[in-house]
Amino acid sequence: MKTKITELRKKLKMTQQELADKVEVSRQTIISLEQGKYNPSLELAYRITKALKVKKIEDVFELK
């Protein structure tokens, strides 16, 4: 899955650790998500979308 997490995170001037704390995962998980190595569950995807202040999940995650 392709993600725009890095881009959206940097727009909000948020570090990986800050995002990780907001969605209650480890920083390593955020790194894996940004690199497209790990596909999140629906719940986690929703949390990340909310944390990045985006309306739709599709604006953050995209099927390759």
Partner: protein, 138 residues
């Protein structure tokens, strides 16, 4: 899968102390009734070794609780742990199968308790290595 945070609580510490006390009591009973006398894992009886194990568990639990480190276990870690466990299980069964064949060819004369401890250490090592490899993949 939900995100969870694992933290040492007084309740979990109490359970560990209870288990530790149980082991110490068991060891004392074994020694009292002279069961399992003779050299065992560097101790003069099975009971002494069980008492030592009980104390060790209590000490480790106390140190871990004092550190009070908050540990996050998120869904990615759970997924990696699940896969690592499956791989470890498969390797474990294969290893035991190979040991059966090896024993048929060249009889394994190691004492049973030592042999089992080697198997346990091997399984933990395999799990640790598998987890680390999968951590890079995911």
């Amino acid at each position: 899968m939900t995100v969870s945070q694992k933290m040492w609580t007084k309740k979990s510490l109490a359970y560990r102390y209870l288990f530790s006390a149980g082991l110490i009591l068991f060891g004392l009973i074994l020694n009292f009734f002279n069961i399992g006398l003779g050299h065992f894992a560097g101790f003069n009886s099975v009971g002494s070794w069980v008492i030592y194990a009980g104390f060790l568990i209590a000490v480790i639990a106390t140190i871990s609780y004092k550190k009070k480190k908050k540990k996050i276990i998120d869904e990615r870690m759970e997924k990696i742990g699940y896969h690592a466990l499956r791989i470890t299980n498969a390797i474990f069964i294969l290893t035991l199968f190979l040991l059966m064949i090896l024993d048929g060819i060249y009889q394994i004369t190691t004492r049973y308790y030592l042999f089992i401890s080697y198997i346990i250490c091997f399984e933990l090592l395999v799990y640790f290595i598998t987890y680390k490899i999968l951590e890079r993949k995911y």
